[in-house]
């Protein structure tokens, strides 16, 4: 268990990635943000932080969750997409600005050096796998299948490809997406036959598909769930997901648990993405 720390960190760099979006709005969608290195004792790949610009201590605006992309000797690297107007304040951050960060938070991906490991990512879900490669004793043995709506130049695929085997597929059209899903399932079948594991990160529609295939194929798979989060500390109870009957704590089997503290990384067999919250007051 790694205790989270709240820190005020300085922005070292905030670099737009790829190409600006078309049309009159015109801004960049993707950014690689580097902060000074936090004084954490440790962190694990798949964990995340909550972050908000400093100097707005009395502002009610929420912090936002960010996957830890990498922690180098120089700093903490985050890769994010401006998915909604609330994220634009992070795109405006520049060198010297201060941010409030609390983390590292949540659970992490399994690192099994001697087990064939398939990484599946869509879109911004590629972010934690850079750090995963850093923490893996043999990253060259990893295989990453990466689906992306925007051109690959918007993502750090070159840096990733230099460290692991990577196949990237555009999934912008319905046909492209279906092909991506076909390739994904084929890879999962192969890794099942090889006694491997699978780790996945991306939007919930993608993770649902991975979850379905993983359960059906019996491939041990971890999913990093992305939910709307207000606090990252487990108290707002806004980011819950429903566990399956395999959940380690029988008292919470079939019940909602917080994604920010019991996750974000869950074994596919431990959760039920088809379940509805039973509801009703006791």
């Amino acid at each position: 268990m790694i205790s989270p720390v709240r820190s005020e960190l300085t922005v070292s760099d905030n670099v737009p990635f790829g190409h600006p979006s078309a049309g009159s709005s015109g801004g960049y969608r993707f950014y690689a943000l580097t902060l000074e290195r936090p004084e954490w004792k440790d962190w694990r790949p798949g964990q995340f932080i909550m972050m908000r610009p400093a100097g707005a201590a009395d502002s009610p605006q929420w912090a936002r969750p960010f996957s830890i992309c990498r922690v180098t000797s120089q700093g903490l690297v985050l890769f994010f997409r401006v998915a909604a107007p609330a994220w634009e304040r992070f795109a405006r951050l520049k060198s010297g600005d201060k941010v409030v960060v609390w983390g590292p938070l949540g659970t992490s991906f399994d690192v099994r050096p001697d087990t064939p490991t398939l990484l599946l990512a869509r879109g911004i879900g590629i972010a934690p796998f850079a750090g995963y490669a850093d923490k893996h004793p043999d990253p060259a043995s990893l295989f990453l299948l990466f689906g992306h709506t925007y051109p690959s130049s918007n993502y750090p695929t070159d840096a990733m490809a230099s460290r692991m085997e990577l196949e990237n597929l555009r999934d912008h059209t319905p046909e492209e997406l279906e092909y991506f899903h076909t390739v994904m399932r084929e890879k999962m079948i192969t890794y099942r036959q090889r006694g491997g594991i699978c780790l996945a990160c991306g939007p919930i529609s993608f993770l649902y598909r991975v979850w379905k295939d993983a359960v059906e194929l019996g491939l041990p798979t971890q999913l990093s769930l992305e939910q709307r989060m207000a606090c990252g500390t487990g108290v707002c109870l806004g980011c819950v997901t429903v566990t399956s009957q395999h959940w380690a704590d029988p008292a919470h089997a079939g019940l909602p648990v917080q994604t920010c503290t019991s996750g974000p990384v869950f074994w596919a067999s431990d959760i039920d993405l088809d379940a509805r919250i039973p509801g009703g007051k006791g």
């Binding site: 009610p60 605006q61 929420w62 409030v100 207000a230 707002c236 109870l237 019940l255 919250i277 006791g282």
Partner: protein
């Protein structure tokens, strides 16, 4: 500076007027990495029910201008789990721990109160009167003085010597009348306000942003309503009033005290920054000094209404 507050003499003494608000601070244990819990005036824990409760459907929470809209449905593991597993881990001998009681009928409120009354670690109980009353078509207990009084009487009878806080919301015709009824029924303290209702819509999906459509609004968006409620209630009851709604900084604490509150709760500010409540406690003496306030009791309820000076 002496910030101590006596809410109920000899039975509920706070080292400062800043408590956590129910539903925004977990049991308190979730925040022990971010500050010293024993520095707080009190910890009002997440809502408790008799039996475990899995809460409302997702999505449950969304950001709205100047606040939070949420519909959680009191997800919790039930009072027994709280008593057996959570309470022993809380620093209740250093800071008052105040569970927040939720029930849909008077008998369940009474039963909850009786269980918690046995616990040394429980300093007081806060009764969430915004709960839907099964016997009144799901309308909240605090909607009228009669149902408020029944719920408070039931809790009081079972609470032994534990002080009882009646938490009121604006889902009522007249919060001052309801506060008077709660006081007459034996409430030791009034707390206001519970979250007013609201909704939010996503124009792109054409759906509401909450799974249960309607939620409660919290955060700075409701501070003016909370201040007004405290001011009105404090002028008609003799018991202490706790202000809840949008407290983000030490100045906010003083605004509520000027309006008549004895103490305040910090709520969703803890979502935006886990150190928020600790920072407020730390800053309060400094801000008092800047504003030349030597004694909180000297300014309590002392709003200057003469604008000619």
């Amino acid at each position: 500076m002496d910030l101590r507050v006596s809410l109920v003499k000899g039975r509920l003494e706070l080292k400062n007027p800043v408590l956590s608000a129910a539903g925004t601070f977990g049991s308190g244990l979730e925040y022990q990495d971010y500050g010293d819990l024993s520095t707080l005036g009190g910890i009002i824990t997440n809502g408790l029910t008799l039996a475990p409760c899995s809460g409302l459907p997702m999505p449950r929470i969304t950001e709205v201008p100047a606040g939070v809209l949420s519909a959680i449905g009191t997800q919790n593991d039930g009072v027994k789990q709280f008593v057996n597993e959570v309470l022993p881990r809380l620093p209740w001998n250093l800071v008052p721990v105040i569970p927040n009681l939720n029930a849909s009928n008077v008998d369940a409120f009474s039963e909850l109160s009786a269980i918690l009354a046995e616990e040394r670690g429980v300093a007081a109980m806060e009764v969430n009167l915004s709960c839907g009353n099964d016997h009144r078509g799901g309308y909240p207990f605090c909607q009228n003085p009669v149902t408020t009084a029944r719920a408070i009487s039931a809790v009081k009878r079972a609470a032994g010597d534990k002080p009882v806080i009646a938490k009121l919301s604006l889902r009522t015709m007249d919060i001052a009348e309801v506060a008077k009824a709660a006081e007459a029924a034996g409430a030791d303290i009034i707390s206001c306000i519970g979250m007013p209702e609201g909704m939010a819509v996503d124009v792109r999906t054409r759906r509401p942003l909450l799974g249960s459509v309607v939620g409660g609004i919290s955060g700075p968006a409701i501070k003016p309503m909370a201040l007004l409620s405290v001011w009105r209630v404090a002028s008609v009851v003799q018991i202490p009033v706790i202000g809840v709604g949008g407290v983000c900084c030490a100045e906010d604490v003083l605004e509520f005290i000027l309006a008549g509150a004895q103490a305040v709760c910090v709520g969703t500010a803890s979502f935006a920054d886990p150190s928020a409540i600790f920072r407020i406690v730390q800053n309060l003496p400094k801000v008092c000094e800047e504003l030349e306030i030597q004694d909180l009791s000297a300014i309590r309820g002392s709003l200057e209404l003469d604008f000619t000076r």
